[in-house]
């Protein structure tokens, strides 16, 4: 694909990672467009990002109110048509509330907000975001959330595992998935999952916060950069009828 990738960054009232994503998009030579939640017009993007924050103050449940914003209709359509969607932190919570991804994110088991660098084991390295990584490797990304405890009933969890849709797990420095390395009590240490087609990724960590060495790491950049290669292999959004 010759032109710069166009990425729609959705902004709900209370979202706060949109500027950080726009900054990193700049580093990647992407064209980032901030889309306010009341608009249904994503502007013919190549990918959609739902950033972190506290949409609607996280009142009631994280993402509970955001999922009804007009923009979500377009996000659902874009995802259904196979477009690349990334929901980080609050974005992940919104995707689950909207039913685009299964399960729900509950209050951390220790009841505290947790902001720290977190090692993660890459379980599967495919799709628009993770193809640049390799399965089994350990990466480091910042986490910053009070409600990241992934929950789904056993059936759903087993299906996710069977389909290889659990793509990131909380791990320790050497990549072992152990209870002590689980920062929020997520079932099966789940940090990130994808939808059936693999085009929608939801994860609690913040890839945009790990895109420059001077702020502590670049594994996040490796994730976002995956999009470039993936897009090259894709028919243009227009051709996919979006």
């Amino acid at each position: 694909m010759s032109r710069a990738p166009r990425v729609a960054v959705v902004v709900f009232p209370g979202t706060w990672s949109e500027r950080d994503f726009a900054h990193v998009a700049g580093l990647l030579g992407w064209e980032a467009r901030l889309v306010w939640h009341t608009s249904e017009d994503l502007g013919d993007p190549d990918a959609v990002v739902l950033p972190g924050g506290f949409a609607h103050g996280d009142h009631l449940r994280t993402g509970a109110i955001a999922r009804f914003s007009p923009v979500m209709r377009s996000v659902e359509a874009f995802a259904a048509a196979g477009g690349a969607v990334l929901g980080s932190c609050n974005g992940f919570q919104i995707l689950t509330e909207a039913g685009i991804l299964p399960g729900v994110l509950l209050r951390n088991d220790h009841l505290e907000f947790r902001c720290d660098w977190q090692p993660l084991r890459v379980e599967r390295a495919e799709g628009p975001w993770l193809a640049g990584l390799s399965a089994g490797e350990t990466i480091r990304l910042p986490i910053s959330h009070g409600e990241g405890r992934y929950y789904a009933d056993a059936e759903v969890l087993d299906r996710l595992e069977a389909d290889g849709r659990v793509v990131l797990r909380y791990a320790d420095e050497d990549g072992s998935v152990v209870p002590d390395a689980n920062p929020n009590g997520s079932l099966r240490s789940i940090a990130g999952i994808v939808n059936e087609r693999g085009n929608v990724l939801g994860l609690m960590p913040h890839p945009e916060r790990a895109a420059e060495a001077e702020v502590g790491g670049t594994d996040g950049l490796r994730i976002l950069r995956g999009l470039d290669a993936w897009l090259v292999a894709q028919p243009a959004a227009a051709e996919r009828g979006l």
Binding site: P13, G14, W16, S17, R19, D20, H23, V24, W36, G53, F54, H56, G57, D58, H59, E112, F113, R114, C115, D116, P142, S144, G146, H206, E208, R209, A211, E212, E214, V215
Partner: protein
């Protein structure tokens, strides 16, 4: 809920009979109940600085970089490239004592509003906290029983959760601060929050009304009975009937403030906006009085137009409500719609409640009748200023005369180092700061726990700013003047240790009642000491806050002047970490402190029940050290630095060893062997440990000599053990033991 009756007596409004007479004089008539309430709030210590304004006048506030000094919502300094750093520290001590979560949360919300009111985008928060002992056995004075300790733990938990709850939700990283424990803070915790914002010079918005006919827009939350009397409440000491006298608790709404912030920042460049003022203590009354007094004009508002959260509010309540997340904007006549459109986009309503008038009065109407008409200046500027009797505490001289020789002569043992490392005032703060989002905005180069100061990059430039918020520990108990000076010096050194140059400070003065001669003496002394140090270091004070009446029936808190320091690092690739590298030489820079008095007011002395001695600090030498550190950093001569503060050299070395996951082999000079405990655990300020690559040590020695700073080579980094030789004694501890001792939860 505290609701004032119209027939409320003068006392109820916090005014004395004399002050009441001044009000009558200012009005040329008796005030009505509404006006009386307005004066009561505006002339409270909290709003009027009655006991401190005269003192604050003595502080240096000028400097080449100063764009906006004290008097506005926050100070602003030039950081190059046409950018300004806008910052201020604010206290929310009394509200936090009553409802720790909301008290701390609304404190954070308030200081953030001060920053974006100036047109600056907040990029960092810091917080300085003080609590009573969390466990009875942490208190050698034996004053803390199980119930008091439980209350202190409840307050700590609530305050930290409130700071995290507000800051994390609005999305401003909390990048640093400090936390300390002492019995005098039992039941009267200190919650000081600093916010730093960045603005282009031309975006800086002041809070001065102008242009009769211009519109007064009220924006944000609707008005309820929150915190009525808050201003006068913050100025009364916390005696036991506070449960009854408590006003309605204010509840913060960071989600709403985020929208308010984004809308105000979008408007800060606009010519449609003449002025912005946030509503804080004394609510609408204070905002109207200050914008009109600053602008030399007046304001007329119709209270019926103020959006209410609940029915039945009286004019009195509407004028004095401290409902959070509200802003007052002065908008050019005819351009209201354009401003309102911006707020609508952020799902907020901006209501025109009145107009700027030429007549310099604050006039409010309700149901077409005038409910108050008061000169803005009388409310904002004409409160009386007091200089009450000042006298050192009677036992002061005796305590300072106390000798610490015996304690100082005790051998410095590994056990003592481990004890100090694990003590509440020194142990790792990670259990606290990991609850704050400290990375939002991806500017954090050095975050909490990683250095003496936080370091944030300024995107689009090569620069970074260094931020520190620090108080003086126990020095105030023995020498409040020194406490003021030492806090300024520690802030400057924290910033200098990261490679930056301190360029301006803000301060928060937390003291007891000024009506008590000892209390007022402590305040005067601390302010004098701060001023001396700032002049000596050439650092202006651009903003600040005063919190008095911090006392309980058990007595006043330790005098606690908290200093927020902003430093500038021109080339952030020159940033200096806290860690050392293999083979680095470890040097001690600064005036030697091997004498017994170096233990005065130290953690070790306090833990051993030695509350006396004569603390000191060589300001001249400290100033030279700050300059030297700037030179060494710019020349890239030091690979690591950390200032000597609580716990002394031994704890500072342990902190660097832990940060580097590497030991060091060191020996103290023979001059230290007479008073080993003072040498290793003494806390006299003005000293820094630096790690220097062997190749650079020659240059460091030369630079130190030229700067007339004493430099002492202690040894070299390496291995898994921290070894310190002192005379014939040798203290040796593995990194893992140090880290384990330091990493105990609260």
């Amino acid at each position: 809920m505290a609701r004032l009756t119209i027939a409320a007596p003068v006392e109820r409004h916090g005014l004395t009979e004399d002050e009441y007479r001044l009000v009558v004089a200012a009005l040329g008539r008796e005030p009505n109940a509404v006006e009386l309430g307005m004066f009561g709030a505006m002339w409270s210590e909290h709003c009027a600085y009655k006991h401190s304004r005269t003192l604050l006048g003595s502080l240096p506030t000028e400097g080449a970089r100063v764009l906006v000094g004290p008097g506005e919502n926050a100070g602003a300094i030039d950081i190059g490239d046409g950018l300004a750093a806008v910052f201020k520290v604010e206290s929310h001590n009394h509200p936090s004592a009553v409802e720790p979560y909301q008290g701390a949360a609304t404190g954070v919300g308030g200081i953030i509003r001060d920053i974006f009111t100036m047109g600056a985008r907040p990029i960092a928060l810091l917080n300085s906290l003080r609590f009573g002992p969390l466990h009875p056995d942490d208190d050698v004075t034996g004053r803390t029983d199980a119930a008091a300790a439980a209350r202190n733990r409840y307050l700590l938990g609530g305050v930290v959760a409130g700071i995290a709850g507000y800051g994390n939700c609005i999305g401003i990283p909390d990048v640093g601060g400090e936390i300390g424990f002492d019995a005098t803070y039992s039941g009267n915790p200190l919650v000081n929050v600093m916010c730093v914002g960045i603005a282009r010079h031309d975006e800086i918005t002041l809070a001065r009304a102008a242009g009769p006919g211009n519109a007064l827009l009220l924006v944000g939350a609707s008005t309820g009975t929150d915190g009525i009397q808050g201003a006068s409440f913050a100025s009364a000491s916390l005696d036991d009937d506070r449960e009854e006298r408590r006003p309605a608790v204010q509840v913060g709404n960071p989600f709403l403030e985020k929208l308010l912030m984004e809308a105000c920042l979008e408007l800060s460049g606009s010519t449609a906006v003449v002025a912005m003022q946030d509503l804080g203590a004394a609510g609408l009354t204070c905002a109207l009085a200050e914008v009109s007094a600053r602008g030399g004009c007046g304001a007329q508002v119709d209270l019926d137009l103020v959006p209410r959260r609940e029915p039945g509010l009286t004019p009195y309540e509407v004028l004095l409500s401290e409902s959070q997340e509200r802003m007052l904007l002065v908008v050019r006549a005819g351009r209201e719609a354009e401003v309102q459109a911006v707020f609508e986009r952020y799902e907020l309503h901006a209501v025109t409640i009145g107009r700027v008038i030429a007549d310099p009065v604050v006039r409010a109407t309700a149901s077409a009748a005038i409910v108050c008409e008061v000169p803005g200046r009388a409310l904002a500027d004409d409160a009386p200023r007091y200089t009450p009797a000042a006298e050192p505490p009677s036992d002061m001289a005796a305590r300072r005369a106390e000798s610490l020789d015996e304690l100082a002569a005790q051998p410095a043992s590994a056990a003592t180092l481990l004890e100090l490392l694990g003590s509440p005032n020194m142990r790792s703060r990670k259990p606290i700061w990991r609850r704050y989002d400290h990375m939002n905005g991806i500017n954090t180069l050095v975050g909490p726990g990683a250095g003496d100061a936080a370091l944030l990059r300024i995107k689009g430039t090569d620069r970074a700013i260094a931020l520190s918020l620090d108080g003086p520990g126990r020095l105030g108990a023995l020498d409040p003047r020194l406490a003021g000076a030492a806090a300024v010096v520690e802030g400057a050194l924290n910033v200098a240790c990261s490679g930056a140059t301190p360029i301006a400070i803000t301060n928060c003065l937390n003291f007891g009642s000024p009506q008590n001669p000892a209390g007022y003496w402590q305040l005067t002394e601390a302010v004098a000491g701060m001023g001396e140090a700032c002049r000596r270091l050439g650092i202006p004070i651009v903003s600040g806050n005063v919190s008095l009446y911090n006392e309980t029936p058990d007595g006043p808190i330790l005098p606690t002047p908290v200093i927020g320091t902003v430093g500038l690092l021109e080339d952030r690739s020159r940033a200096v970490p806290m860690a050392w590298c293999p083979a680095d030489e470890i040097w001690l820079l600064g005036a030697p402190a091997w004498d017994a008095a170096a233990l005065a007011a130290s953690e070790l002395a306090w833990r051993r029940g030695r509350f006396g001695g004569e603390p000191s600090l060589d300001l001249e030498a400290a100033a030279r050290l700050v300059t030297l550190l700037g030179q060494l950093g710019a020349a890239g001569l030091v690979s690591g630095a950390h200032d000597v503060s609580v716990g002394g050299i031994a704890v500072a070395l342990a902190r660097m060893a832990i940060a580097s996951s590497m030991g060091a082999d060191l020996s103290m000079p023979t001059s230290a062997s007479r008073f080993p405990s003072a040498g290793l655990f003494g806390e006299r300020g003005g000293r820094v440990l630096v790690a220097v690559a062997p190749a650079s040590s020659g240059a460091v020695v030369t630079a130190a000599a030229a700067a007339q700073v004493t430099a002492e080579r202690l040894g070299a980094a390496g291995g898994r053990e921290l070894q310190v030789g002192l005379g014939d004694a040798r203290l040796s501890l593995g990194i893992d033991r140090l880290r384990a001792a330091w990493s105990v939860p609260f």
